[in-house]
């Protein structure tokens, strides 16, 4: 009765988004299921209708962000005319930075929390790695295929490209650094001059 519904309607996503906010404000250390429940105006045990455990919610939070990020990057790549042209890397790099300019809280959530496991290894099992990094890597490998470069140089170039783009995202999402319409051209310039 009234405006208080027994059924929340979209509790699963609300818990995920409130969880990200909570971690950004208090850190993963002070994150708790009960606090997230309270933020969603819901009882302490409500999350257990959607998640098996606290760890399960945390994993879902990571997947939630990563999936949006991946969808954005894949859309960006496929919208480019020539998939083998180096320009596709610049296009992807722009999207990489832009995604976090549009969602700065996602950047802090993913990369500023020591226990949010984001694997970034070249040699290790690719399947366990941060998916956006692997997407950048396979895209770059396709672009560089025709160039007959040594494996080492290619891998180093990929790391350099990723570092540039990730660094830009890190700077752009810092507090007091505001979005500027010149950012897009800024990003293009920096990546091209690599």
């Amino acid at each position: 009765m009234g405006n208080k519904l027994y059924h929340h309607g979209d509790l699963r996503n609300s818990l995920i988004e409130a969880g990200i906010e909570l971690i950004n404000q208090e850190g993963v250390k002070r994150f708790s299921l009960r606090k997230v429940s309270a933020l969603c105006g819901v009882s302490q045990a409500a999350p257990y209708s959607h998640f098996q455990s606290k760890e399960d919610l945390l994993k879902a939070m990571q997947d939630y962000v990563t999936e949006q990020f991946m969808a954005d990057l894949e859309r960006s790549i496929q919208s480019y005319t020539n998939q083998n042209d180096p320009g596709v890397l610049v296009q992807m790099g722009k999207s990489y930075v832009m995604f976090f300019i549009n969602h700065p809280h996602y950047f802090h959530f993913l990369f500023s929390q020591p226990c949010m496991t984001v694997n970034l290894s070249i040699e290790g099992d690719a399947a366990e790695n941060f998916q956006p990094f692997e997407l950048l890597r396979t895209t770059a490998l396709r672009v560089f295929e025709k160039d007959k470069l040594s494996k080492e140089i290619i891998e180093d170039t990929i790391i350099a490209l990723w570092a540039t783009v990730h660094g830009l995202a890190s700077i752009a999402t810092m507090k007091n650094v505001h979005y500027d319409k010149d950012w897009e051209t800024k990003i293009e310039d920096i990546i091209w001059n690599k």
Copy 2:
């Protein structure tokens, strides 16, 4: 009265060592002050006579291992005749691996727990880095000084050397890989052939 002493005698170190054992067996997630206290045959609040908090004990556990490791490495370096000879790096590498062959549980404690913060960056703040890594780095810089190599090549060589040595330690401390008297010569060969 009897053999049960009111004063433990060496509780601080016992807590640290029992804590390392507990983390190796159950993981940092299931580590708790009360369990460590029980393992030491002491009441739940006893740790607070030696540590301010759980975090404080965890930090002390890391420092405890790192200090022993550093002392070992420094002794190894200083025992070598010529501090500028490349051989000092081999000597140090041998000690690096040997330390963890002699203390395999320290390796797992330091490197297999996601929340044990071990920084290993080249560009970042050196003071925040894993001290043994910085020691290897400064030693290598001294050895390579006369060679007039580019900074990039030197840094890459340092990474390669560290990776070799650390990888050997990782393999050597795996279960079912037992210490063998040939390990020392094995290590020498692998590092020299780099």
